[in-house]
């Protein structure tokens, strides 16, 4: 752990894979920018990998004042032994007050390892981060300007606000798609600090023998409209209805985990706690009961339209519009009405696409 350091920077771990930055670090930088401005301290990105120097510029354009760059062949593949050791050394040297990580496969492996080694707190899967004060319930001691880490727990049924008042840095992971990414500003300037890497690869306990990643086929996060189907759709063939409605609206197709497990739609389309978190302008869900794990991934949508045959389905609890009825009748009616609607001509002819 490090001492409380009110001048400490805000840090974002900039995860990259094979020289490509994913969206999460950029989303975190825009949130980090907000936090750093509130605290009046610099925002820095920490990036580790092999042949990644070129990524610094993008990090600066997205808000970093400074980039700590550890570029070495030994960092080609992620493993906790090398990455966590380097990051702990950097934390000990520069004493940042906040460190943010994406709640990705790598972030959820790395961040707890770093926090355990630094003996500091770590809050998982935050959905919001704010700067605020904390009053100790026993001593009534007030600590100002702490990172308020807001996260769902208990299967999404409660929202807890967590603080780390004493043992710093204050660390948190944030799921992909939860923070909004800001637009790159090509005129931004920043410093790049080269980090010396002294790791003997033969001392590392893990060897990566094979690594296969497939790009996501659907971009649920970017969609303005999502039409999602659940177990109630009944079959993969009948899922055609969901595709048709999505296509006519120029939207993307989503699914509940039950729909994925039943083989109606591929896993890339899954919305929810173990799928993608989305917040489109309109989320239409048909034949989805609205389990907490599903709601966790969609309840931030601007407008939610639920179609379900069961008037007591929990999904209606988070919906803005509801149709209690059989989706096999309701969806064709929706499609027909949208087709006939003159004001919708652009939507119909515009971005519609097939799978």
């Amino acid at each position: 752990m490090i001492d409380m350091n009110r001048n400490g920077e805000v840090w974002v771990f900039a995860e990259q894979e094979a020289g490509q930055l994913s969206d999460v670090p950029l989303e975190l930088l825009s949130k980090g920018r907000e936090l750093a401005d509130t605290l009046n301290v610099p925002l820095a990105a920490v990036i580790l990998g092999n042949n990644i120097a070129k990524l610094s510029e993008k990090l600066i354009q997205h808000g970093a004042d400074c980039v700590y760059l550890a570029d070495s062949p030994v960092l080609e593949h992620y493993q906790p032994a090398s990455y966590a050791t380097l990051i702990c050394d950097l934390i000990t040297e520069y004493k940042p007050q906040i460190c943010l990580f994406g709640a990705t496969a790598i972030g959820r492996d790395l961040a707890p390892t770093v926090a355990s080694s630094m003996k500091c707190g770590l809050t998982a899967d935050c959905t919001d981060l704010q700067i605020g004060n904390h009053t100790d319930p026993l001593t009534k001691k007030v600590t100002e300007n702490l990172l308020q880490q807001i996260r769902p727990a208990f299967g999404g049924n409660i929202i807890a606000t967590i603080v780390n008042p004493e043992r710093w840095p204050q660390m948190a992971t944030v799921r992909e798609g939860v923070m909004r990414m800001s637009v790159a500003d090509p005129s931004r300037k920043g410093d790049v600090v080269a980090v010396t890497v002294n790791i003997d690869p033969t001392t590392l306990p893990t060897q990566v023998l094979e690594s296969k990643r497939r790009p996501k086929k659907v971009n649920l996060k970017g969609a303005r409209i999502i039409v999602a189907g659940g177990a109630g759709v009944g079959s993969r063939d009948n899922f055609r209805l969901i595709w048709d409605l999505a296509n006519i609206l120029g939207g993307a197709v989503g699914g509940s985990r039950a729909a994925v497990d039943l083989g109606y739609v591929d896993h890339d389309h899954q919305v929810g706690q173990t799928g993608t978190t989305v917040r489109p302008a309109l989320y239409i869900c048909a034949g989805i009961s609205g389990a907490v794990q599903h709601r966790a991934g969609m309840q931030e949508s601007a407008k939610i339209l639920a179609i379900n045959i069961d008037k007591d389905a929990p999904i209606f609890g988070v919906a803005h519009y509801g149709v209690v009825g059989d989706l096999n009748e309701v969806i064709p009616k929706l499609i027909k009405t949208i087709r006939s609607g003159a004001s919708l001509e652009e939507a119909v002819t515009g971005t519609a696409q097939n799978d």
Binding site: P80, R108, D109, P112, S117, G121, V292, Y321, K333
Partner: protein, 302 residues
């Protein structure tokens, strides 16, 4: 040969069961209405350890930190084939965050000694998925997360990791800690013969409780010696659940419970199921027309 495994298991409220009925009218969760279950991915962790024993020999010890009632999951694990069960229970463990939890578990693992530790990826109540990685760090074991398949090769292990958008195959040195994902296997059910035997397994605390119930009028000394006798008899049959407190673990109390937990809960809100203004439309042509009209009016579509 063979590998000695420890499986970390947690008893959790069944958060999947939170449907309309388990929500109170004010929108908060009625925890008492939720059954306590074996954390789902810990069953996958146990299955992986049992598979390792089937293939190579060795032993499987299940370990939990929790309330005395957590013995239910330990008994379940014994009925599925675990060799030993250990309960760490102590009031001073209360309010441990993941850092303190992993510290306490690390003390127990050190006392037991193991080649490999299997954890579930994530518990469905705290939902952090942090205990596994932090326990590995505390023990200095090689951390291998998201295990889907594995094969021991002497003092190394070859693991296929499910990383969500693909997979990775790694070779890691033992001792290692794995976090196991749901897709790794299908947990075996309780074996009938084992179930008949191990459903009778008890922890010393449970024995005390039974003795107190059965001998309400006996003095403390009688109760104590009766309990000791029964524990001894259970131990002979392999039916005594090992029970440790923080003193048994020689744990440093500064790293346990509230003092050992850097994260503090500032506030808890329950999710109230209410979407704000909600409008329902009948599934008729007129209803659907009206719905589309409204969506176009407020520029949601069109």
């Amino acid at each position: 040969m063979g590998y000695n495994s420890i499986v970390c298991v947690k008893q959790v409220p069944d958060t999947k069961q939170i449907t309309g009925q388990a929500m109170k009218s004010d929108g908060t969760v009625n925890r008492a209405a939720l059954p306590a279950i074996f954390n789902p991915e810990d069953l996958n962790a146990l299955e992986s350890a049992l598979e390792a024993r089937d293939r190579h020999g060795g032993t499987v010890t299940v370990l939990t930190m929790g309330l005395p009632s957590a013995c239910d999951v330990l008994r379940d694990a014994l009925c599925r084939g675990a060799d030993h069960a250990v309960l760490v229970t102590d009031r001073r463990c209360a309010a441990s965050d993941t850092l303190a939890t992993s510290y306490i578990l690390s003390c127990a693992v050190r006392k037991l000694n193991a080649d490999v530790v299997f954890c579930g990826r994530q518990a469905i109540d705290g939902d952090t998925a942090q205990v596994g990685p932090q326990l590995a760090e505390k023990l200095g074991y090689t951390l291998v997360t998201y295990l889907e398949d594995f094969e021991f090769e002497g003092r190394t292990v070859r693991v296929r990791r499910n990383i969500g958008n693909g997979y990775e195959v790694v070779r890691s040195q033992l001792p290692a800690l794995f976090t196991v994902v749901e897709s790794a296997n299908k947990p075996r059910p309780q074996a009938l013969r084992k179930a008949l035997k191990f459903k009778k397994a008890l922890s010393p605390l449970e024995v005390n409780k039974i003795v107190t119930e059965q001998l309400p009028d006996a003095d403390d000394n009688t109760k104590r010696s009766e309990a000791a006798n029964r524990c001894q008899a259970l131990a002979k049959q392999g039916l005594l659940i090992t029970q440790w407190d923080l003193d048994d673990l020689e744990a440093d109390l500064t790293w346990c419970g509230v003092t050992g937990s850097p994260t503090k809960v500032n506030r808890i809100q329950s999710i109230v199921l209410a979407g704000g203004d909600y409008k329902e439309f009948p599934p008729t042509d007129a209803g659907i027309n009206q719905l589309i009209y409204e969506l176009v009016e407020d520029h949601t579509i069109g």
